[in-house]
């Protein structure tokens, strides 16, 4: 178990991360989602013991650990834009094994194994300038898996990958987790991928764990419109109304369970009514949250919004990808922080 306790991290006096507790249990599959600049990469660097938090503690199996200590060898980070050493792919995969003093035969076995799982065996003789960005990313993941860490941290691991490469990566992670108790903590801005494989999806906003679910999170500029606490914010091509005393920069969240889904606009008190088209219907597993029968309806209503409804409601409304849909929600349902 890897934990951050009462952690506060600053860059040049600016707080970029503030967490009471963030735990990565043994064997867990965690996705951290959030907009750019929400602190995901900082969180991963602290968990990877590459930086010391300005305040707070990092614990590994209950013991306080620091950068430079032995625990760092149990945690491996693959950065968002990973870099390969000036060497062949094989030498890159061997690096972490050689620093651990592992014997030649075992090094070869693990390199071949990791390369096969990530589908990069044919790249082993190549050098970094001969690889595409997607290939570099797969090599970086293979390099991290080869050292068999307890915790693997991945920062936007499929940002440079095409769909097939992304599936190869997720399959490799699943195989590795089936083989041994590997905990994976993945930072992503793609909710689809996060939900596809993670047991636990957590949202970060402005360096803090979001109190709401990670869907429909937006960084906005709130503008007062002269009528009390009713504020407006432009998101995509639409304007969302929210009840808040805040103005200026803020994070706005629309809980998916608070969105009414219909085929036609409803005559209601909802200040936010948007018409659009269904882009996907996803039956998602939400470990431990009783998500059985819930369908996540993603629609493009000028901005991408996600609503959660029941399977029966999907049938009654005859919702289908490409079909028309109306999303409505009250200004008071919008969370602002």
């Amino acid at each position: 178990m890897l934990e951050l306790i009462d952690v506060r991290h600053e860059y040049d006096g600016r707080v970029v991360l503030q967490l009471e507790r963030f735990a990565v249990p043994t064997g867990a599959a965690i996705a951290v989602v959030g907009p750019n600049g929400s602190g995901k990469s900082t969180l991963l660097r602290l968990l990877a013991l590459l930086e010391r938090p300005t305040q707070g503690r990092v614990l590994h199996d209950g013991a306080v650990v620091t950068p430079g200590g032995a625990a760092r060898r149990r945690v491996t980070l693959v950065e968002q834009r990973p870099i390969l050493f000036r060497a062949t792919v094989r030498e890159n995969l061997e690096f972490g094994l050689q620093v651990r003093g592992i014997g030649r035969a075992e090094v070869n076995r693990r390199v071949e194994d990791a390369a096969a799982r990530l589908g990069i065996t044919q790249l082993l003789g190549r050098r970094r300038h001969e690889l595409s960005d997607g290939e570099v990313q797969r090599v970086a993941v293979a390099r991290a898996l080869a050292v068999e860490p307890d915790v693997l941290l991945l920062d936007e691991p499929v940002s440079s990958a095409d769909r097939a490469a992304a599936l190869t990566l997720y399959r490799a992670l699943a195989e590795e987790r089936a083989r041994r108790p590997l905990a994976v903590c993945l930072a992503s801005h793609q909710l689809e991928d996060a939900y596809r494989w993670a047991d636990d999806v957590r949202a970060l906003a402005d360096g803090r764990l979001s109190p709401v679910t990670p869907e429909n999170l937006f960084r906005v500029e709130l503008v007062a419109t002269g009528s009390g606490e009713l504020k407006h914010a432009c998101v995509g091509t639409v304007e969302i109304a929210a009840m808040t005393d805040k103005t200026g920069p803020a994070i706005l969240a629309v809980p998916p369970t608070d969105i009414f889904v219909s085929r036609e606009p409803l005559a209601s008190s909802a200040r936010n009514t948007f018409q659009g088209r269904v882009t996907s219907l996803t039956r998602r597993r939400r470990g431990g949250e009783g998500g059985g029968g819930a369908v996540y309806v993603t629609a493009d209503v000028g901005v991408e919004l996600i609503a959660v409804i029941t399977e029966e409601a999907v049938r009654d409304l005859a919702l289908a990808p490409g079909g028309p849909v109306v999303f409505s929600f009250k200004a008071s349902a919008v969370r602002v922080f």
């Binding site: 834009r81 870099i83 000036r86």
Partner: protein, 231 residues
Amino acid sequence: MDFLAEGFRRALALLFSGDAEVYGIALLTLKIGIISTALACGLGIPLGFVLATRPFWGRRAALTVVNTALAFPTVVLGLLLYALLSRRGPLGAAGWLYTWQAIALGDVLLALPIAAALAAAAVQGVDPRIRRTAETLGAGRWRTAWTVAREARFALAAVITTAFGHVVAEIGSAMTVGGNIRGQTRTLTTAVALYTSQGDFGLALALGLILLLLALLVNVALQALQGRGHA
């Protein structure tokens, strides 16, 4: 122009005849150059590494001192070294004044800040992800430093070339603490200055050509080494 052409003819004749004095001077210069470059880079490159990577109190001041030392006039360096090595100086007991060791010491002091400043710049030029990647893959402090150095190897090779170039081309300190003694402390640069002042232009030119040849050979050797490692 006849004078120049004659000078070149004489130079080539001396070079190809294997003139003992010419080659003696060249070999001494090479010996001093290699030893002082090795010492200066052996100390300066790790110092540059520390300046570039380890946060410590006074780091900025240390960088300023190193960068200022880059412009230290060699004649003044020779003068200070003379004061230290002269019989009445604090290092007089070593008996190094007017020896090749004194020239080498001056060259080390000259090339040390060059090696440190350029090495610091070379290391700072390495993508910070290299360091983080080495660390997250389990490398300790030394292995991480070695990995960063490997990434900067082309720039670090340039550091060695530059240091060697400065050392073999230096004259102010070599003249002051070496004394330009024939057969003992006469280097290519001090000999060129002497023979030019004596009007022996051909000999001066021959030595000058050897100096250029040395610089060329060192560069070619380093480029050949760099060529072995592709990106």
